[in-house]
């Protein structure tokens, strides 16, 4: 069975492994690196629970081979918290952006990609930005509010920092 040695920089830490060519990135993250915050939902590229950032771009890690990510940077939900919760995490907490929580890691990574590219999205842009992520609990309303909360919070802290 074909195997390759790969090194993927995950949340700033290089992670190496001998992997089968067919290993999916999501399995490398969860099983080889024990970072189980990234979830597997539908396994068929629909639900977005497995969303991570690959070189800063949000992708569904159930549809990327681990070997394709060799030498590249991956960010997962575990990398979001610094000294304090990331504004997105805080937003989901404050605005009740989750109920069961299964979709949340993927939702947050998609929202991160959105805010990185469009710091002040309007409601429609937020809804479009998370349209590759399915939530079966919230009806999306509070998720939208959570992203708005984070967007405002990031703006505020930047304007304070800039003074």
């Amino acid at each position: 069975m074909a195997k390759k040695s790969i090194t993927i920089n995950i949340n700033g830490t290089p992670r190496s492994g001998e992997v089968e060519d067919r290993l999916l990135l999501v399995h490398f993250i969860r099983d080889d690196c024990a970072l189980t915050g990234t979830h597997i939902g539908c396994d068929s590229t629909h639900c977005g629970a497995c969303t991570v950032l690959l070189d800063g771009t949000a992708v569904k890690s159930c549809t990327v081979l681990a070997v394709q990510a060799d030498g590249r940077e991956v960010s997962t939900i575990e990398g979001m918290e610094g000294a304090a919760l990331h504004p997105l995490q805080e937003g989901f907490f404050e605005e009740h952006g989750l109920q069961c929580g299964f979709c949340t890691p993927g939702m947050i990574m998609s929202a991160k990609h959105l805010l990185d590219n469009n710091p002040k999205p309007n409601e429609e842009e937020i809804r479009c930005g998370i349209s590759g992520n399915l939530c079966r609990c919230t009806g999306y309303q509070n998720i939208v509010k959570s992203v708005q909360y984070a967007s405002n919070k990031i703006q505020e802290s930047e304007s304070v920092g800039g003074e």
Binding site: T57, L65, S110, S131, G132
Partner: protein, 291 residues
């Protein structure tokens, strides 16, 4: 779900990639964005024993105008098309199309070349490329290169004019004339779904008369469908509402939908008529300076 076993190859150059395909034969497949191929491999609908990854070939990723054509490198992602200023300003039909493909996460990896090379009549770019009279540029062994007219490219479901040892490298689209406009309209059940049906329309005007028209239809036949009768109806006229109505009836008659979970044949023919009508109308507005 995990794909079957295969050997992964990540060549550094296009020539190397083509050589690999040539040496490995029909059991090898090109891996672009992987968003059609990997799902099929998980379902065991495809079981290639070698994958040749072309996503790291930086020379296939460009959007530029050159020698009278818009040239799209095969690895341009749907997101890149969606966000390109050049595309938004001069080729809104391509923005219309990429925006309705799958969802934003899929679009971050899915490539325009893959969307065409896959040969799936449910994919959205093929109909657009028919309407735009695109040319598909393909590279093969020993530096060979050929240009395939889009009308000769799609041969059947998941079957194109590409040979096993060839790579689609570029799509060329004639730069629009002064009074040209195009538009793509798709009806889908929900975000991320393939089309129930969709219509791509392009129109060129001169002195208020339509001098050429392109109508392409998605997911209503074994290949993307060019509605030639409908195009002919438009050319030489001022594209009045009455003519548009007639042309959309013809498009509906030309389409070959099959009833399935997305609707009955009759329903889909109705959808084709309505979408064609709307697409022509919008293309006309865009051509003549409106929105």
């Amino acid at each position: 779900m995990i794909p079957g076993t295969f050997d992964y190859h990540s060549p550094d150059t296009l020539d190397e990639a083509i050589k690999l395909l040539n040496d490995l034969g029909e059991d090898a497949k090109v891996l672009a964005g992987g968003h059609s191929l990997l799902p099929m491999m998980k379902w065991r609908l495809a079981e290639p024993t070698h994958l040749v990854d072309i996503s790291r070939l930086s020379d296939l990723d460009y959007i530029k105008e050159e020698n009278g054509y818009l040239c799209l490198g095969a690895m341009v992602t749907e997101s890149a098309l969606e966000n390109s200023e050049l595309i938004a300003a001069k080729y809104p039909i391509l923005k219309d199309t990429s925006e309705v493909i799958a969802d934003p996460l899929v679009r971050n990896l899915a490539s325009v070349g893959g969307n065409i090379a896959h040969g799936d009549p449910a994919n959205d770019h093929p109909a657009t490329m028919l309407a735009l009279n695109a040319i598909v540029v393909v590279c093969g062994p020993n530096g060979s290169k050929r240009e395939i007219n889009i009308d000769d490219f799609f041969l059947g479901p998941l079957w194109t004019a590409l040979q096993d040892n060839e790579i689609l490298t570029e799509i060329k689209i004639p730069i629009p004339k002064q009074y040209s406009g195009g538009c793509y309209i798709k009806l889908e059940r929900k975000v991320g779904d393939y089309a129930i049906a969709a219509c791509a329309a392009t129109l060129d005007f001169e002195n208020g008369q339509c001098i050429s028209a392109g109508i392409g239809l998605t997911n209503v036949g074994p290949t993307p469908v060019r509605a030639s009768d409908s195009q002919n109806m438009l050319v030489g006229t001022d594209v009045s509402d009455e003519i548009i109505e007639k042309a959309s009836v013809l498009a509906s008659e030309t389409s070959q939908p099959v009833g399935d979970h997305r609707g009955s044949e009759e329903y889909k023919r109705g959808v084709v008529k309505t979408l064609t009508e709307r697409a022509i109308m919008k293309a006309k507005n865009r051509a003549l300076g409106g929105n």
